[in-house]
Amino acid sequence: MKKEDTVKLISAEGFEFVVDKNAAMVSQTIRNMLTSPGGFAETEHREVTFPEISTTILEKICQYFYWSLQYASGKETEFHIEPELTLELMMAANYLHT
C-alpha cells in the first residue's frame, strides 16, 4: 500500500491507526477533512487527531470502516458491538457522521 493511499488516525491517548484512505472516508467528517481544497492541515499531512475518542473506540471505528466496505461489496456479515462500548461508540459515530 502506497503511503499516499493511507491516513493516520490518532486517538486521545496518542495511539496511531494507519488505515486505507478509502476506508477512512466512510466517515463523512473525515472525508470532508481530507477532500476540502486548501482547507484543513489534515489534507496535507494525511493525519487526523481525535482528542475525544479513546483508543478502544477508535479501533472499533476502524473495524467498522473495513466492515462497511465489505458489506457494500456484497459480503453481508454481522458487525459485532460489545454492549459496554455501545454508548461511547455511538457518540463517536455521531461526530464522525458514520
Binding site: I61, A72, G74, I81, P83, T86, L89, M90, M91, A93
Partner: protein, 578 residues
C-alpha cells in the same frame, strides 16, 4: 353463475380523505399500522433494489434498542441521539413503561406514540419531563386520561398535540393546555366528552393554525371561542352532527381560514352565508350537509376556492347556474345529488377543473357535451349515471384524463373506441355487465393503464389476449365468471400486478394458482368461488409479498391457509377463509 354478484365501492362517506392529503392512519381498533412491523428491516432495504450499508450510528441504535433494559438513563447523552434511540424503540415496538424511564429529562423534542400499544397515564410523567424541549406529542389512541395531562402545562413550547381517539380526555384535561400558546396544531378527533364549555381554553391559543375536532359530538356552541384565533388556517368539524348554522357565525371572523370541513353537520344555506368573507378559503367540504344550490351565492366571491365538496347534499338543478362563478375550482364533487344535464352546462366555463365527481347523478349523454372543453380534467367519475356510448364521444378529446370511472353506466362495447386516444389514462373502471371481449379490443392503445376494473364485465379467455398490451397494470379485476385456466395464462405475464381479483370465475383450478405464482409482486390475491384446492396452495409459496389472500367458497380450508401463512407467507395480514 359467476358475475351474478356485483358490488360498488367507494360509496361510503370518505370524511377523512377530503382532499387526499389527510391520513387515515388514526383509528384505535381498525389499525393495521402495527401489523406491518413483522417485516425485518433487511427485507425492506432489499426491496429498494440495492444494498444499503447500515451506518455505525444505526448499528449502535439497534444494539441499544435490543438491550434497552441494560440502560438506566440517557439524560447525559445529546438529545438528538436520545431522540433517535427513542424513535427506534417506538418503531421496533420495544418501548414500554419500564424502559421509558431511561428517557426522563432527556429534552426530547418529539414523542410520537400515536396508536402505540399500552400508552396510559403512567407514561405521562416521563413525557412531560421533557419540559420546554418538547415540540410535538402524539398520544392518539392511548388510554391517557385527564389526570395524565396534569403536567403537560410544563411543556411550554409544544407546537403540536394529537389526542385523537383519546376518549378519556374531557374538558378538564383540555383545561391543562390553556397556557400552551405556542400550539399551532391541535387534534382531538372522535372525542365524546369535549363540550363548548371546555373549548373556552382554545381562545388563548392565539398561534393555532390547525384544529381538528372531527367526530366530536359535543362541540356545538364551542366555536365561538375560536373567534380571536386570527391565524387559524384549517378547521375540521367533519361528522360533528351537532354543528348548526349558529356555529358558522363566529367563523366569519377567521379571515385566514384556508380549509373548512363541516361534512355531515346540520349547516344549511343560511350557515354558509357566514363564510362569504373568507377570501382565502381554498377547501370547503360540505358533504351530506342539508344545503341547496342557493348556498353557492355566498361562495361566488371566494376567488381562492379550489376544492368544493357538496356531494350527498340537497342540491337540485335549481340555482346551479351559480357554479359558473366559481371559476378557480379544480376539484368539484357533486356526487349523489338530484341534478341533471342542465347543471353541466354551468360547469362549461370552469376551465381549471381537474377532478369532477358526478357519481349517481341524473346525468346522461347530452350533459357530457358541456365537459368536452374541460381539457384540464384528470379525473372523471361517472359511475351509476345514465351515460351511454353517445356520451363517450364527448370525452374522446380529454387527453389529460388519468382516471375514468364508467361502472354501472349503460355503455356498451361500441362506445369504447372513443376512449382509445386517451393516452394519459392510468385508471379505468369498466365494471359494466354489457362490456365484453370486443370492448377490450378497442382499448389496446391504452398502454399506460395501471388499474383496470372489469369486475362484472363479460370477459372470456379470448379477451385476455388483449390484456398483454397493458404491461404496466398494477391492479386487475375480472370477476364475470367467463375465465378458465387458459385465460389466466395471458395474465401471468403482467409482471407489475400487485392486486389481482379473479373471484367468481368458477372454472379456475389449481393450474391457475400455478400460473399466478409467477406474479411475484402480488400484494393481494382473490380467487374465491373457484375450483382451487389445498393442493394448489403450494404454488403460492413464491408470493412473498402477499399480504391479503382470499380463497372463500373453494375447497381450501381455513387450516390450509393458516398453515401456508405460518410456514411460507409470514407477511399475510388478512386471509379468507380464516
Amino acid at each position: 353463475m359467476g358475475g351474478a354478484c356485483s358490488r360498488k365501492r367507494d360509496q361510503q362517506t370518505n370524511e377523512e380523505n377530503a382532499h387526499g392529503g389527510v391520513s387515515r392512519r388514526y383509528s384505535k381498533s381498525g389499525s393495521s399500522k402495527w401489523l406491518g412491523t413483522s417485516f425485518s428491516r433487511a427485507s425492506v432495504d432489499k426491496k429498494e433494489g440495492n444494498v444499503i450499508c447500515p451506518s455505525l450510528m444505526e448499528l449502535c441504535i439497534y444494539k441499544i434498542s435490543e438491550e434497552i433494559h441494560e440502560y438506566g438513563t440517557f439524560s447525559m447523552i445529546p438529545r438528538d441521539i436520545s431522540q433517535q434511540i427513542f424513535n427506534e424503540l417506538v418503531y421496533s415496538q420495544r418501548l414500554n413503561e419500564a424502559c421509558l424511564e431511561a428517557f426522563q429529562d432527556c429534552a426530547l423534542q418529539d414523542i410520537n406514540l400515536g396508536e402505540y400499544p399500552g400508552v396510559d397515564d403512567a407514561w405521562m410523567d416521563v413525557i412531560c419531563s421533557q419540559g420546554s424541549s418538547l415540540l410535538s406529542v402524539d398520544l392518539s389512541g392511548s388510554d391517557v386520561t385527564d389526570s395524565g395531562l396534569f403536567h403537560i402545562s410544563d411543556c411550554k413550547n409544544v407546537e403540536a398535540l394529537n389526542f385523537n381517539f383519546c376518549d378519556q380526555i374531557s374538558d378538564v384535561g383540555l383545561g391543562r393546555i390553556s397556557g400552551l400558546s405556542n400550539l399551532t396544531t391541535l387534534s382531538l378527533k372522535r372525542n365524546n366528552s369535549i363540550t363548548a364549555k371546555g373549548m373556552s381554553v382554545l381562545s388563548g391559543l392565539v398561534n393555532l393554525l390547525k384544529l381538528d375536532l372531527e367526530r366530536c359530538p359535543g362541540v356545538h356552541g364551542g366555536l365561538v371561542h375560536l373567534r380571536g384565533l386570527k391565524k387559524l388556517e384549517a378547521l375540521n368539524v367533519n361528522c360533528c352532527n351537532c354543528i348548526t348554522d349558529a356555529d358558522m357565525k363566529p367563523l366569519s371572523e377567521l379571515t385566514n381560514l384556508k380549509e373548512l370541513q363541516i361534512s355531515c353537520s346540520k349547516v344549511t344555506d343560511h350557515g354558509v352565508t357566514f363564510l362569504k368573507g373568507l377570501h382565502k378559503l381554498a377547501l370547503l367540504n360540505m358533504e351530506r350537509c342539508p344545503i341547496t344550490a342557493a348556498c353557492l351565492g355566498s361562495l361566488s366571491d371566494i376567488a381562492a376556492l379550489l376544492y368544493l365538496d357538496v356531494s350527498k347534499s340537497n342540491l337540485t338543478d335549481d340555482g346551479c347556474d351559480k357554479f359558473s362563478k366559481l371559476k378557480s375550482l379544480k376539484v368539484l364533487n357533486l356526487g349523489f345529488n338530484e341534478i341533471s344535464d342542465a347543471v353541466l352546462a354551468h360547469l362549461k366555463g370552469l376551465i381549471h377543473l381537474e377532478s369532477l365527481n358526478l357519481d349517481s347523478c341524473k346525468i346522461g349523454d347530452e350533459g357530457l357535451l358541456h365537459l368536452a372543453g374541460l381539457d384540464h380534467l384528470k379525473c372523471l367519475e361517472l359511475s351509476d349515471t345514465e351515460v351511454g356510448n353517445n356520451g363517450l364521444r364527448h370525452l374522446s378529446g380529454l387527453v389529460n384524463l388519468e382516471s375514468l370511472n364508467l361502472s354501472f353506466t349503460i355503455i356498451t362495447d361500441g362506445g369504447l373506441r372513443n376512449l382509445s386516444k386517451l393516452s394519459s389514462l392510468r385508471s379505468l373502471n369498466l365494471d359494466v355487465r354489457q362490456i365484453t371481449d370486443a370492448g377490450l379490443a378497442a382499448l389496446t392503445s391504452l398502454t399506460g393503464l395501471t388499474h383496470l376494473d372489469l369486475f362484472c364485465a363479460k370477459i372470456t379467455d379470448t379477451g385476455t389476449n388483449y390484456l398483454r398490451n397493458f404491461k404496466n397494470l398494477r391492479s386487475l379485476e375480472i370477476c364475470g365468471g367467463g375465465l378458465t385456466d387458459a385465460g389466466v395464462k395471458n395474465i401471468k405475464n403482467l409482471r407489475s400486478l400487485m392486486l389481482l381479483n379473479l373471484s367468481q370465475n368458477n372454472h379456475l383450478t389449481d393450474k391457475s394458482l400455478e400460473l399466478i405464482s409467477e406474479l411475484t409482486q402480488l400484494v393481494s390475491l382473490n380467487v374465491s368461488s373457484s375450483r382451487v384446492t389445498s393442493a394448489g396452495l403450494q404454488h403460492l409459496t413464491k408470493l412473498k409479498n402477499l399480504k391479503s389472500l382470499s380463497l372463500e367458497s373453494t375447497k381450501v380450508t381455513a387450516n390450509d391457509i393458516k398453515r401456508l401463512h405460518e410456514s411460507h407467507l409470514p407477511d399475510l395480514v388478512t386471509f379468507r377463509p380464516e
